[in-house]
Every structure is written in C-alpha cells, then in structure tokens.
C-alpha cells in the first residue's frame, strides 16, 4: 500500500501485511481511541508510529474536487489525501486490543465520526501551532456533538512550529477546564504513546462511578 501522507509513519516493528494480520485468540475485547485534528496535522503519522500493523485505510481517495476547499498552506509536498479513515491497532494485553481511528477534520465528514464515538475511550486532538485556528472546528465539534467524550490536546511539534506554553494554548483554544494539553512528535513512538496515556488517564479521572 502506497503511503503518500506519512513516509515517516511506518511502524518500526516491521509487521508485514500478512504476518500478524489476525489477533491472538486470547483477545476478548476491543477499545478505541479517536485521533482527530485538522487536515494534514499528522494523525496518520501518529497512528503509524504506535500501531503494530501497517496502518490500514478504508473508503475512497479524495479527488481534485477538494483543491481550493482544503487548505494546503504550509504542507509542503503533501499531494494526496483521502476522505477515508486511517487506523491502526495495539494489542495492549493478551485480552485487550486498542484501535486508533484517525478521523478527518473537515466539517463535511463529521457524520462519519459520530457513530464511531459511541463506546470510545476518548479523542486525542492533534494540533499544529502553525495553523492553530484550524483546530477550532474540530474542538467545536467535540464539545457540541460528543460532549460525553473525554479528550486531550496533543501538539504535534513540527521543526518550524512556534513555541506556546500549555496555558497559552488552553486559553487560545478556549479548552474546557482540566483538559490535558501535551506535546509530542507524531513520528516518535514513545512520545505518541505518552500522549495516548495522557488521554486514558484523563478518561479514568473523568469516569462516572456507575454503582
């Protein structure tokens, strides 16, 4: 599978498409985290750096019809994108597998993610400080349509990203109180796993005790 959007996103464990395709028989349940963010922010790269399988892609490619609709400023040589969902998985224990679904950031595709949000652990919002305003739409969507879904903000650090403190970011994006803000290099496995941990800790802290 050609991987136009994330040359650096290939997993380091070298899982091929046939070997390791299936889950261990011991796996009893799945959990899911949504990786959301604006177009070109590095969602697929992050998924690729933590996934044990080569990230998979479903649905169709975006056509040239998106030229002039999707903002390509600052994206360098990013030529192609998809309307599709990219996803990966991590078997976190013999019983439990985690799926990471990369959700398109554009408003016209949000219908895709409302169903997926059901039963999700939470959403990791990936943002780029060079184009912070593009995260407003995504955050707005999370707060209005999936209000129950815990989320954390992760800044994907690009080499020429302006530095902002976490407080400045929380202010600029008008995040709900206690929303965790972290930063990572989406190409780095350990850093990306830490961002996921931040989200899961937040989800645990926010969980309503059922009984």
């Amino acid at each position: 599978m050609a991987y136009a959007s994330s040359p650096d996103g290939a997993p380091e464990n070298g899982a091929s498409e046939t070997c390791g395709r299936y889950l261990a028989e011991t796996v009893q349940r799945s959990a899911k985290i949504l990786v959301v963010g604006a177009f070109g922010v590095g969602k697929t790269t992050l998924i690729g750096s933590v996934s044990e399988i080569t990230p998979l892609r479903t649905e169709e490619a975006m056509t040239t019809a998106s030229v002039g609709v999707d903002d390509l400023a600052g994206l360098g040589d990013k030529k192609a994108t998809t309307v599709a969902m990219d996803f990966g998985r991590i078997t976190v224990s013999p019983r439990l597998v985690l799926y990471l679904f990369g959700m398109p950031g554009q408003r016209r595709f949000w219908d895709l993610w409302e169903g997926l949000a059901e039963g999700a652990v939470g959403a990791l919002v990936l943002a780029d400080t060079r184009r912070l305003e593009q995260s407003f739409e995504v955050l707005d969507q999370l707060e209005t349509h999936t209000a129950e879904l815990p989320f954390a903000l992760a800044i994907n650090q690009f080499p020429n990203s302006p530095w902002c403190s976490e407080d400045e970011l929380a202010d600029a994006l008008d995040l709900p109180p206690r929303t965790p803000v972290t930063s990572c290099d989406a190409r780095d496995r350990a850093g990306s796993v830490k961002a996921l941990i931040t989200l899961v800790e937040h989800a645990l802290a926010n969980q309503k005790v059922p009984s």
Binding site: M1, A2, Y3, A4, R21, Y22, L23, A24, E25, V27, Q28, R29, S30, A31, K32, V50, I53, L56, R57, T58, E59, E60, A61, M62, T63, K79, A80, T81, T82, A84, M85, F87, R89, I90, V92, S93, R95, L96, V97, L98, Y99, F101, G115, L116, E118, G119, A120, V121, A190, V193, K194, L196, I197, V200, E201, A203, L204, Q207, V209
Partner: protein, 118 residues
C-alpha cells in the same frame, strides 16, 4: 486501495452489495467489533454473494470489521451490513459487541498496557 489520491470508481455501487441497505440489522456492529467465523465447515447458502463469501473467508481468524473492510477494499459501512447478516444467519460470531461504554476495568487494563509500551 491506491494511495495516489486518484478517484477509483467501482463497477458495482456499494448499495448493490447490501441489497440497498445502509444500516446493519444489529446495532451492536461497529468498525471496532471483533468477529470470527463460527465453524469453518458451515456452508453458506447458494444464494450468498461474493461479498458474504469474501468476508467470511477473511474472518477465519479473529479480526475487527474495520480491518476486514480494509483488506477486502470495501467501505466499512458495507462490511457492517453484510457482517450483520452473517451474524443473524449464525455464520459469524461477535466476540465483543461494540458501542457499549468502557468500564473502569478496561480503562485500567488499557493504561497498564500502554505504560508498558512507553
């Protein structure tokens, strides 16, 4: 799937594969639902289509529906409808129904597992 960004049309429209249906018969079917073929010997009716056969073949071992869809190069929405039919007919087993809220135990197990990876 091609990664070139070219639009690639399909000779058969997705709704043809699902008999015109957009919604699965079961509301517990999600892209992250784990499925496995019931018993390998259980034959599909002669009327079963190519998509049913392909999906059942793909699910000879444990897999999520999103993965099955990606490997079969079919939209997840189509695979969810077809999988739901196969569950109804007893050919496909659901390991974990999707859409249920995550329990505290699962969150803790997840956190523990991720910390070991970091």
């Amino acid at each position: 799937m091609s990664g070139t960004g070219e639009y690639r049309d399909r000779p058969v429209r997705p709704y043809v594969l699902t008999g015109g249906r957009a919604v699965p018969t079961r509301n517990t079917i999600r892209p992250d639902t784990l499925v496995i073929a019931a018993s390998p010997g259980m034959p599909l009716p002669v009327s079963a289509g190519r998509t049913e056969r392909a999906l059942l073949g793909m699910c000879r071992s444990l897999l999520s529906l999103a993965e099955a869809a990606a490997y079969l190069e079919l939209p997840v929405s189509v695979v969810m409808v077809v999988a739901s039919d196969l569950v109804d007919s007893g050919h496909l087993l659901v390991r974990t129904p999707g859409g249920a809220p995550v329990s505290r135990e699962v969150l803790q197990e997840l956190l523990h597992g991720l910390r070991k990876l970091a």
